[in-house]
Symmetry: C2
Amino acid sequence: MQKDVDAHVPNYPNLPSKLICLLHNITLHADLETDEVYAQMTLQPVTSYGKEALQLSELALKQARPQNEFFCKTLTASDTSTHGGFSVPRRAAEKIFPPLDFSMQPPAQEIQARDLHDNVWTFRHIYRGQPKRHLLTTGWSLFVSGKRLFAGDSVIFVRDERQQLLLGIRRANRQPTNISSSVLSSDSMHIGILAAAAHAAANNSPFTIFYNPRASPTEFVIPFAKYQKAVYGNQLSLGMRFRMMFETEELGTRRYMGTITGINDLDPVRWKNSQWRNLQVGWDESAAGERRNRVSIWEIEPVAAPFFICPPPFFGAKRPRQLDDESSEMENLLKRAMPWLGEEICIKDPQTQNTIMPGLSLVQWMNMNMQQSSS
Amino acid sequence: MQKDVDAHVPNYPNLPSKLICLLHNITLHADLETDEVYAQMTLQPVTSYGKEALQLSELALKQARPQNEFFCKTLTASDTSTHGGFSVPRRAAEKIFPPLDFSMQPPAQEIQARDLHDNVWTFRHIYRGQPKRHLLTTGWSLFVSGKRLFAGDSVIFVRDERQQLLLGIRRANRQPTNISSSVLSSDSMHIGILAAAAHAAANNSPFTIFYNPRASPTEFVIPFAKYQKAVYGNQLSLGMRFRMMFETEELGTRRYMGTITGINDLDPVRWKNSQWRNLQVGWDESAAGERRNRVSIWEIEPVAAPFFICPPPFFGAKRPRQLDDESSEMENLLKRAMPWLGEEICIKDPQTQNTIMPGLSLVQWMNMNMQQSSS
DNA sequence: ATGTGGGCAAACAGCCGACAA
DNA sequence: TTGTCGGCTGTTTGCCCACAT
């Protein structure tokens, strides 16, 4: 949490700056009012784990599925006005929408797309005008007012592997809506999360947290393999060059280059020797305050080839076992590695019944899963 | 909190079931989206206090100001439809609105009223039709859609002491909107409030809580004098008859009669010997589940004349000193009683700059203050 | 006394191509 | 290629009263 050090917030001296946890359960939610997405995770701190745990986490990291095709458009004043419909970029319409029957005059069809709540929205898709262009007309204004969209917000159309259309929104970064809470002070909240984690760590009992990537983009749950790789794979030094990924406006990614300018504790009083954002960095291209000036080791890719100062403890085999086969084998592996998980080992999204694996980048996984929520 | 006993929630054995606190600060809020009202309080546990503290708390209890005139109407289908305006009950219009000039044909005027966010709403008030009636026409539908009102919700018009019109809404009890939180689990929240209180109690440091009377009507902050009076003034016994106040639909109050049927702990495991709802009661008139079957001693008025089993410890003088004069004298008294408060002793509402005193019934105080938020 | 509905005029929603960036 | 606009038409909004409860 971004929180000024406050004398009134208790310390938890027995709470380390990081906890190794099992991911027991993850549930994806979308706020019914705003479509804001967030994840609910049940974590259980563990004190011991087998090397299979690491391998499985790494395995899951590599499970990136082929991205579905999609397009994302930022809405114009015309798109959101009541005067007309939605102007579909030509390439987008041709890539995502079903092909039109051009023998019709004008070519037109009905399009249906499903949102995160499984609501189906129906639009008239027509190709007309001079010059010709793709438009969504009837049904569009209902969508705009229903989702309370304004110019600057974005819509995302996705075509999944079954040719189903999925529909999402991404609101512009307006002033923080500040609805944070009418029942809980941020102090209590801060204390509560720490107290819950401390209690769970002391008892190896599960606790539940929420992750909202739009409200606070910081990932505070790191895949185990990703963390290990960063810690044991990267030799850090002042002046080292690195790259780091950022998400672009249109849901793509872009790498920016930077230099490590300092290695020191973010909060030497409360979280001494924490690896959380202990790297001070400068960026090659940056307007003031555009990018964070502190990052964590697992967020960056060193540009110089990494070398090992000591053998990484969990890579007993030179080449970690590669598994490209079916999930049943992964299930068996998981069960051997963490038998206390029982049958809860397969994490099911209650909406989609998709089986997923712990260890993915959470944002990556959420994106994937959101896009498949109609399956 | 209404919370099932959960093995994963830590106990706070050093946290007593009640804390004597100083009220450092109280801020009233209204949710910008929903107009839901709530209070934010900073409390500081104290271990000792002078008798002046009790006297001041009692004094504040007696500070009930004369209620401003108001009316409250539950909206009909016609009131909320786009087909027309708002039909003002005759008596309400004559009591609250400025008098019309009946020489006009038809009599009409512009009315302005201010909501909790200091937004001003303008309506055309006209007296017409056959038979004649008071109507709000132009401007009304903007208000209905702006506040997202539906048939069954209520509007409240208040005329304050400066003849200014204030305007509030009170939504019907629909299904709980369940927007509770997208960033915090209820477990963490529960733990957090307890942890914050426990830490504050151990260190005599302040902590902050929120009180939302619509979401959870239970008052969990009790004026000190009210509590003392109840504990030392009422001799309880099984079968004792009592009265208790409830708020009616139209913002009035009504007393219901009941009988004490049991005296025992609500939660003997976690909060042993707590006085919180330790009275089991039955009601003279009650549909099933209409009224709570557990109440606390400070909520009821015994019907039999109270008698003292021992002299109440803080009423050294037979007749507590009565102060009807200016707040400067109260300030001095407070400063002598609780010098550690420093200059924070005068609680100011940042909106109204009204000086208020600790010890009032919170709901009472909120009602008073909300009605003055335009001053 | 006041909730609902028909009549009516004005405002708005929403589909179209023209035009320009 | 696509954002915005004027033209046009069908629907909705919103003020009035009548009528019923």
